[in-house]
């Protein structure tokens, strides 16, 4: 290293340069763009490769973008992922089938119920108990998934708005998401990472105040949702940033395997809730939302409209639940059903005293079932199953393989964020650097799901 450069680095601690075998590398942080613009001017014929992320507020999580630039135009874009890889699939192989739910709920942390649902539907298919899951459990699953779709789309719109500078969209988006998380807390006890949907049903019955809270929520959301439309739909800045950006037509979507709002923004009404219904979605009245512009603006409008449809489903599910008071929420088969119900005690939520009295004082058989399920778990017949669900981001499926034991032999999740992120290059090459942010926000990848 020459002494000149050394002096430079001492002058500017935050924007140094150094020579490597591949050319001069500039380290630029904060607002210190002088050094890089100077350096680029000197090497005008050289290509500039900019590394954006993985720690960057606009890359939608720990996503690393490797961009080749010509001026401000992106000529090549590549993604670097894996920064949030936690080995969830491997971990699940060393836990029982029920404990697997606790792991997979943490993958795509914005849509935990969908992770749980697709895994449980796969396990239920292998157990051949798909028809035995009680009605109330099915309705509660649908209710929670649709509430979750609303909260996930709110975050998609909120963070997408924040990344282009529309901070109000962010604040109101998170304000409404908070309402949904409060409902989750009421129903499952947790705001995130619920592990609530279990093979055979759901973990607990609805608490007594849930129906009222749900009705209040739908009434409030009907007032709040129009605010997004009023703020964004015809906003010239918003439209200017989103329209025509991140274009991907139907052919590109199918070839690259994109599903969810990106696919529906091309006008193709593919929604697994309609085409391959699960958990009783065929009993609800709702429409598949599409748009015909194949761009980021279309995807925004699809998400906005889907929140209205989800709200319709939440209303119908709430009314059905109001008529199902006291109905079972777990399969009747005592060799599969998780035995314990929780109860609120003076020191918070804990074991149900009724259940403890039942197993300790009344029924030896119940004690045996409890002990066997909690220590050993149930066995799942050997085979493999794949039951995808329509998550807020597209087709989410779990490939569940059992060797006949009490633990998953293999559980692999086909996460829509992972698949959809492959479209980054084709959506952003040839556009401006600032449009990459919009294109990625319109895919709405969640890195917890991408890296698992």
């Amino acid at each position: 290293m020459s002494t000149d450069q050394h002096a430079d680095q001492q002058q500017d601690l935050y924007a140094g340069t150094n020579e490597t075998t591949e050319g001069r590398v500039f380290t630029v942080t904060g607002q210190d763009w002088d050094t890089i613009s100077q350096g680029v001017a000197e090497e005008a014929d050289e290509r500039v490769v900019v590394n954006m992320g993985p720690q960057h507020p606009s890359t939608h999580g720990v996503l690393r973008l490797i961009l080749e630039l010509e001026g401000e135009t992106v000529t090549e874009a590549r993604c670097g992922i894996g920064y949030l890889h936690t080995g969830i699939e491997k971990n699940m192989e060393y836990r029982s089938w029920v404990q697997g739910v606790t792991f997979c709920t943490r993958m795509d942390y914005l849509s935990p119920f969908f992770n749980e649902a697709t895994y449980c539907l796969g396990v239920e298919r292998l157990l051949d108990i798909e028809d035995q899951v009680p009605e109330k459990a099915q309705v509660m699953r649908v209710l929670l998934m649709e509430l979750n779709r609303i909260s996930s789309h709110l975050v998609a719109i909120a963070t997408g708005g924040m990344e282009i500078g529309a901070l109000t969209v962010m604040t109101i988006g998170f304000r409404e998401r908070e309402l949904v998380l409060d409902l989750f807390e009421t129903i499952t006890g947790l705001r995130m990472n619920h592990a609530f949907i279990r093979p055979g049903g759901v973990a607990q019955d609805l608490p007594p105040n849930a129906i009222g809270d749900l009705r209040d929520f739908t009434a409030l959301m009907k007032k709040r949702l129009p605010e997004y439309a009023a703020l964004c739909n015809a906003n010239p800045i918003f439209k200017g940033r989103l329209e025509g950006v991140g274009h991907l037509d139907l052919e590109g979507c199918i070839a690259l395997g994109l599903t969810g709002p990106v696919l529906r923004s091309t006008g193709y009404p593919w929604d697994l809730r309609k085409t391959q219904p699960y958990s009783g979605y065929e009993d609800y009245d709702f429409e598949v939302q599409t748009w015909d512009t194949s761009d980021s603006y279309g995807r925004f409008r699809v998400r906005l409209n889907e929140m209205w449809e989800s709200l319709k489903i939440v209303e119908q599910a709430t009314e059905r639940l109001a008529g199902l008071e006291g109905a079972p929420v777990m399969i009747g088969d005592k060799k599969i059903a998780w035995p314990s119900q929780l109860a609120i005690g003076s020191d918070g939520m804990g074991n149900s005293l009724d259940h403890i009295r039942h197993i300790m004082g009344e029924s030896m058989e119940a004690l045996i079932h409890h002990f066997k399920l909690v220590t050993e778990g149930f066995r799942v017949p050997a085979g493999q199953a794949y039951v995808p669900v329509e998550s807020p981001r597209g087709e989410l499926g779990a490939h569940v393989v059992s060797d006949g034991g009490t633990r998953p032999f293999r559980a692999h999740f086909r996460d829509p964020s992972f698949t959809n992120l492959q479209a980054t290059s084709v959506m952003s090459e040839g556009g401006m650097v600032s449009d990459i942010i919009v294109a990625i926000a319109s895919i709405d990848p969640v890195m917890g799901g991408v890296d698992r």
Binding site: I81, G82, H85, G87, E89, K90, Y94, R125, L126, D128, I254, A255, L256, G257, L258, T259, W270, T275, Q276, T375, E376, G377, R379, A382, G383, Q384, A385, Y386, P388, E395, G397, H399, V401, D403, G404, G405, T406, R407, F409, R410, H412, R414, F418, T419, L421, Q422, D451, R452
Partner: protein
């Protein structure tokens, strides 16, 4: 698959309610029909079948048996897809043994395909008007260390939006020669999925445009999802104690 046997003539009037095989099939001897696919053996303390030893001290071993190949004709649309695939493969000049077996289990159909024939089968499934599996939902690896000569399985899920059907393709490769042809040319979406499967299992997808690690660091040794990948234990600060790795702990599996 089913091991229930013949109808018990006395069941229904005075037969014991608990002892009949139909009542508790888990006590029935494991079916060892030569047609079923034995992919390994499981050893453990509980879950004994077919032996009087329930103590767990006999070193229980039982075969891991997967659903057997189904016989033609299959049920419902499965037969249509299988017949259309046969026709399409014959038309494309693919050898007749390309599909080794077909398993229909729990309403899902799996085509076990010879790995050399995978690209031709994938192309036929995508392009034939009677099949039209336009969307590939990715590939998932499974490692069966005891399935000698076919240790590594690659499992593909395909979706036909035109016909609203799903099929599964399964190919195998031995650990000694972990190569499977890539189908990125047919389904561009499988690019990252094949990279992930390579990263996690060491399956090499020949013909992939850039088969590099995707989730693990580039210089990572080994492939973590393989069953023989060493797992770490946890040292405990008590007289040199450790918590053994998860695969060596006492388990009920």
């Amino acid at each position: 698959m089913s091991s229930g046997g013949q109808e018990d003539p006395i069941k229904g009037d005075k037969g014991p309610s608990q002892s009949a095989l139909e009542e508790s099939p888990e006590n029935a001897p494991a079916s060892l029909d030569p047609e079923v696919q034995v992919v390994g053996a499981r050893q453990g303390m509980f879950g004994v079948r077919g032996s009087g030893d329930t103590s767990g001290y006999g070193g229980l071993r039982q075969p891991v048996v997967f659903p057997a190949p189904s016989r033609r004709p299959f049920e419902g649309w499965h037969e249509e897809v299988a017949a259309a695939l046969d026709t399409a493969l014959a038309g494309a000049g693919v050898e007749a043994q390309a599909v080794e077996g077909v398993v229909v289990h729990r309403g899902e159909i799996t085509f076990h395909v010879r790995r050399e024939a995978l690209p031709a089968v994938a192309k036929a499934l995508r392009d034939d008007p009677a099949l039209r599996f336009e969307l590939c939902s990715g590939v998932s690896g499974v490692h069966y260390p005891d399935d000698t000569g076919r240790e590594l399985h690659a499992v593909y899920h395909l979706l036909s939006m035109t016909w609203n059907r799903r099929v599964r393709l399964e190919v195998t490769a031995p650990d000694a020669d972990p190569h499977v042809p890539s189908i990125v040319a047919t389904y561009p979406t499988i690019d990252w999925h094949e990279r992930e499967t390579y990263d996690m299992f060491g399956l090499i997808f020949d013909g992939h445009p850039a088969l590099t690690r995707i989730l693990m660091p580039d210089d990572w040794p080994g492939h973590p999802q393989r069953k023989d990948y060493p797992l770490g234990g946890i040292p405990v600060e008590y007289k040199g104690g450790t918590i053994p790795p998860p695969d060596q702990r006492r388990s009920y599996n």
